[in-house]
């Protein structure tokens, strides 16, 4: 009996050992949870309630997030963090027909993409006024303005002499100016010049734009030929520092290659501190040089109102505190935030307390302007700072992947919360204005990694909602975002007053508001169609045998003016011509024009692309192009 048991037991033991070796995962990796679940973030049911906005209720804030190299604006609601709408600004958008209809096509100027970094809401007395939003395009050096009544782009301006207005737009407290400093230095007019002559021939041109509200047009007031450095973030002074602006700059080494190394050599770079009221006065006094029609200020010639403040190397953010007394620079490669005092800077300027000059621009003594350095233990890569209503600053730490809450008057670090992962900017509720609201902070994270269901190698970005109301910051929601919000601004929803239906415009010669006024007018080779869209038909000529047919000759210049006469909330009509690569949308009461040459002969169905009604599928007609000869 015993003898029989031995082989049985030894067999079982052997089998068990083999099974453990083959199947059991005893590597240390098996204990690793997903990285995101390693975070110290805790959740509770209360958090879910805070972000839940049921049907019938609306969010408290709009979050206007730049869309980076999508060239679009992403409009989110806070606290629900729902994406409400994507608004095309610098890139064409087939869904809305932006870049297809005549007006928006002209505005885009032939460019097919943009790199929208920084939104800037218009301000009155240093507070968002909910009227307009400005945008800058790093890719093609453009600036745009969007009307917040309709959330549509009204004007785009191409800014010459400058290449990559990254750090802008930033507006002055009463939207007097929109400043566009530039990331890349180039020769004026972007003419050819050898990189060997970089320091001599290249400039980092900053532009001062003004906005003509009446005509909804952007204009360039003047430009400043700053040294050939890279200008990064910027902010406008407010209250006691109104009239001043601050810009961080790096590559003061004037490196022309392998910037990663060569632009990171000097221990100190600078903050450009400038007085835009003085600059405006200089321009008024004629102290500028005309460069291809632009009023260009050369600081080495007109040495007024521009100063340099030494700062820890390669800074990113510079943010003016809500009281307007300080500006905070973030070290990017240094572990610290530096608080500078405007008051001390003004005194140093008055006393000519300079340590030297660069390119004719006086350099202030660091010690004379610096208020304090704040260095949270082991925090790395401070990028950008926002504020609440209780005197706290919130700084994103890109490298140590966290938000640090600190008191900018005492330098005391109050709280820290990890975010997933690597925050670039953050946006607090009205957090860059003269009167922040507190309550919420959205961390705009650059990496999503394992936060969401995988869609393969391309990952979304991540936005995280942080509750600021308690004594400790709490990450309470994590949502994906399309590439790539760089900066966002959060504005109280009740400041924005939109319209649902475009009012009748009696002066618009392209508009027709009655079916009986529709007509097709031929003038030589030009055919103007004055048509309407309504549920569920197009009428181009009410007297025609087939009112929804347009017939032209090959080679005709065709202008289809279409008015949506369904003046009813959310009744949008689309208008597409099959196989003619044309599409647009007309909102209730709106008139838009498709302007093209009918170069292809044939029969092309036209149809409504935006589902409008039960008979949407029947909302179509024909575009007939008679062949030549």
């Amino acid at each position: 009996m015993k003898k029989k048991l031995i082989p049985i037991i030894s067999g079982l033991v052997f089998g068990l050992v083999v099974a453990v070796i083959i199947f059991a995962d005893i590597s240390p990796g098996s204990k690793t949870k997903t990285a995101a679940s390693n975070s110290t973030t805790t959740t509770s049911n209360g958090d879910a309630e805070k972000v839940y906005v049921p049907l019938g209720k609306k969010d408290d804030y709009y979050l206007m997030a730049s869309g980076g190299h999508s060239g679009q604006l992403f409009v989110y609601g806070v606290p629900s963090m729902r994406l409400i709408r994507t608004v095309p600004i610098f890139s064409p958008d087939s869904a809305t027909g932006y870049g297809y209809d005549a007006a928006s096509k002209k505005m885009l100027g032939g460019y097919t993409w943009g790199d929208f970094h920084h939104p800037a809401l218009s301000e009155t007395n240093g507070d968002y006024d909910g009227k307009y939003l400005f945008a800058t395009d790093v890719a093609n050096s453009r600036a745009a303005v969007m009307d917040l009544k309709t959330f549509t782009t009204k004007d785009i301006i191409k800014v010459p002499n400058t290449s990559g207005p990254h750090c802008a737009a930033f507006v002055t407290p009463n939207t007097e100016y929109l400043f566009l400093p530039t990331r890349f230095a180039t020769p004026l007019g972007q003419k050819y010049a050898s990189l060997d002559n970089y320091s001599k021939d290249y400039y980092g041109v900053m532009s001062a734009l003004t906005f003509d509200k009446k005509n909804e047009k952007l204009n360039i007031a003047y430009q400043v030929a700053l040294p050939p450095w890279s200008y990064d973030l910027s902010d406008a002074g407010k209250k006691s520092s109104d009239g001043w602006g601050v810009i961080t700059t790096y590559n003061t080494e004037e490196a022309t290659t392998t910037m990663e190394i060569n632009a990171s050599q000097a221990d100190r770079d600078y903050i450009v501190l400038f007085n835009w009221k003085e600059l405006a006065q200089e321009v008024k006094d004629g102290k500028y040089t005309n460069v291809d029609g632009q009023k260009m200020i050369f600081p080495e010639k007109e040495n007024q109102g521009i100063y340099l403040v030494p700062v820890a190397k390669s800074p990113h953010g510079v943010d003016v505190t809500p009281d307007g007394k300080y500006f905070i620079a973030s070290g990017k490669l240094a572990p610290a935030m530096t608080v500078f005092s405007f008051e001390k800077a003004f005194k140093a300027i008055k006393d000519k307390d300079f340590s030297g000059e660069r390119n004719g621009i006086p350099v202030l003594n660091y010690k004379s302007v610096m208020e304090r350095e704040v260095n949270p233990e082991n925090a790395l890569g401070p990028l950008h700072t926002q504020f609440d209503n209780k005197g706290f600053a919130y700084t994103t730490m890109f490298i140590s992947s966290e938000i640090v809450k600190w008191n900018y008057k005492t330098g005391e670090v109050v709280d820290r919360v990890p975010v997933q992962y690597s925050p670039g900017h953050a946006a607090a509720a009205e957090g860059d204005t003269a009167s922040p609201d507190g309550h919420w902070l959205v961390s705009l994270n650059k990496l999503a990694k394992d936060n969401f269901l995988s869609v393969g190698p391309s990952h979304p970005e991540t936005m995280q909602l942080i509750d600021l109301d308690g004594p400790k910051m709490r990450v309470i929601d994590t949502v994906p975002a399309n590439p790539e919000p760089h900066y966002a601004q959060m504005i109280k929803a009740d400041k924005i007053h939109t319209i649902n239906v475009y009012p009748e415009d009696k002066n618009n010669k392209d508009a027709v508001y009655k079916t009986t006024d529709t007509r097709i007018v031929r003038n030589g080779n030009t055919v103007d169609v004055y048509g309407i869209a309504m549920r569920s038909r197009f009428v181009f000529d009410s007297k025609a045998k087939r009112p929804d047919t347009i017939e032209v000759n090959q080679g005709d210049h065709v202008r289809i003016h279409l008015t949506n006469i369904d003046r009813d909330e959310d009744i949008t009509h689309g208008f597409a011509i099959n196989n003619y690569d044309l599409n647009m949308e007309v909102q209730p009461g709106e008139t838009k024009t498709l302007d093209f040459v009918a170069d292809k002969a044939g029969t092309f169905p036209l149809y409504c692309t935006n589902f409008c009604s039960a008979l949407h599928q029947e909302m179509n007609g024909y575009f007939l192009v008679k062949p030549n000869n």
Binding site: M534, R535, D566, R567, D568, S613, A614, L615
Partner: protein, 191 residues
């Protein structure tokens, strides 16, 4: 002045008739009849507001929707009454005032008669239009629904719409004005 033949109306009756006349006049400032339409897509509701001389409300939207069921367009032009009704009502107010001044009972009977006949004609007219619009539908309409007649007052359903018809403030003022003309009948019943 002594009322010898006993046929003059009392002071209270006269005041009551003056009040009636004023209310009739004031009623012209208010809507007489209102129709509200609700649908899943129109939770905020669409409305037709009828004054004695004009139509208000979201008529354009209602007309756009109505063409799907082949209903004719609502507009001020489709109702000839709107061009003269205001004068008839103003005339009634003046007539009531005259009766109040003349204080003759026979005239009062006449006035009440006009009120009653006018009221019946009015309600019938409204019903006639509701019937016409609800039943005289274009046979070529994309959506063929059973003809229907919304009630003068009350709730109705057709297609995805629920409608509520109400009398407007103007109509209530007229009802009160009518009641005021009845006060003299009771007040001066022994004379």
């Amino acid at each position: 002045m002594v009322n010898l033949n006993g046929k003059k109306l009392s002071i209270i009756s006269t005041l009551s008739l003056i009040g009636s006349s004023i209310l009739i006049g004031v009623s012209l400032l208010f809507p007489w009849w209102e129709l509200f339409l609700y649908a899943p897509q129109y939770p905020e509701g669409l409305d037709i507001i009828v004054y004695t001389n004009k139509l208000r409300g979201k008529l354009d939207i209602i007309n756009t929707l109505n063409h799907y069921i082949g209903m004719s367009d609502f507009s001020e032009k489709s109702f000839p009454e709107l061009s003269y009704l205001i004068y008839l009502i103003a005339g009634l107010a003046i007539l009531t005032l005259i009766v109040a001044i003349l204080r003759k009972k026979s005239f009062l009977y006449m006035l009440i008669g006009i009120f009653v006949i006018g009221g019946i004609i009015g309600v019938f007219d409204l019903y006639h239009w509701l019937h016409t619009f609800g039943t005289d539908l274009d046979p070529k309409a994309p959506l063929r629904i059973k003809p229907f007649v919304p009630p003068v007052i009350g709730k109705n359903r057709f297609a995805n719409f629920t409608t509520y018809s109400y009398l407007g403030k103007g109509a209530y003022l007229i009802i009160v004005a009518f009641l005021l003309t009845l006060i003299p009948l009771w007040k001066d019943r022994k004379q």
